[in-house]
């Protein structure tokens, strides 16, 4: 507490609380298994920091799966 880093983290944390309210507003009140959003171990990271540290997957365009392939293989 008192350090510049603490101040930045605290501001980021407060922003994340606002984000949780928004994310939870989409949950269906009738459904009790809708996703819940709130404080996690990542709440003091900005979305950019989170993306940089934890999201390392790259998108690759793949061919569409077609039933045709299976049908062809099943021909005696």
């Amino acid at each position: 507490p008192g350090s510049a880093e603490f101040s930045i983290r605290f501001k980021t944390f407060k922003k994340s609380i606002g984000r949780h309210v928004y994310l939870n507003s989409f949950s269906r009140s009738s459904s009790n298994n809708s996703a819940k959003y709130g404080v996690t171990e990542f709440s003091d990271l900005s979305p950019d920091e989170f993306r940089e540290r934890y999201l390392g997957g790259r998108h690759v365009q793949l061919p569409k799966y077609t039933k045709l392939k299976e049908d062809t293989l099943n021909i005696p």
Partner: protein, 214 residues
């Protein structure tokens, strides 16, 4: 198709791991899939080295990111044997690729399949049962704040930035969902797992689906 299916119930899924601050999700998901397929074939469930794939898969960028299909393609081309985690432990940093004697224990793949199943999640469920746990990519930006429950909003298709492993599905409740193993430790989500609604390609879960064969 059964209304509910989970490979964890067959004891062929290794425990949730933590990638820490290493962007090696692509390696965790691919190695997790191979561990399961190896066990499904009647072998012992072994924890295999994620670090080996991170260090050695030259088509990818180690802890700076990579693609699941790139890793599978490399494993298939090189026939590299993935050794046990105990032999080549996770360090959460990209390192120099270590080589092992040909006689050392390891699991290599015989091939793999990789497709876009968007709009065909029913077929994807069949493939999960047929092939084993599925390696998929997703948009996980909103997962920073995920506590539990079934994700139905707040993520996009065609914008994958993370890789995970689908171990099962559950269609018995009001909202059918995929059961997905993440690699952020057991303190996140549902003891390390996340549930994603089936049917709308939520988070792009059906955009890039792959499985290895051993």
């Amino acid at each position: 198709l059964a209304p509910k299916f989970d490979w964890r119930e067959k004891n062929v899924v290794t425990p949730v791991q933590s990638q820490q601050s290493c962007g090696g999700c692509w390696a965790f998901s691919v190695v997790g899939g191979i561990e399961s397929v190896y066990a499904i074939q009647g072998n012992a469930l072994e924890e295999l080295s994620v670090q080996q794939v991170i260090d050695c898969s030259y088509k990818n960028q180690g802890c700076n990111g990579g693609s699941t299909v790139g890793a599978l393609s490399w494993l298939n081309q090189t026939q590299e044997k993935i050794v046990k985690t105990s032999e080549y432990p996770f360090k959460a940093l990209t390192g120099v690729c270590h080589f092992f004697p040909k006689s050392a224990f390891g699991v290599s793949i015989k091939g793999y399949e990789a497709y876009d199943f968007s709009g065909q999640e029913e077929k994807m469920m069949e493939k999960l049962v047929q092939w084993g746990p599925l390696v998929v990519t997703v948009d996980a930006v909103s997962w920073q704040d995920y506590l539990g429950g079934v994700i139905q909003h707040h993520c996009s298709s065609q914008e994958a930035n993370h890789a995970v492993l689908i171990t099962g599905f559950d269609r018995t409740g009001e909202v059918p969902y995929w059961i997905v193993r993440n690699s952020w430790g057991t303190s996140w989500g549902n003891e390390g797992y996340v549930y994603i609604e089936i049917g709308g390609n939520i988070c792009g879960i059906a955009d890039s689906v792959s499985a290895a064969f051993v």
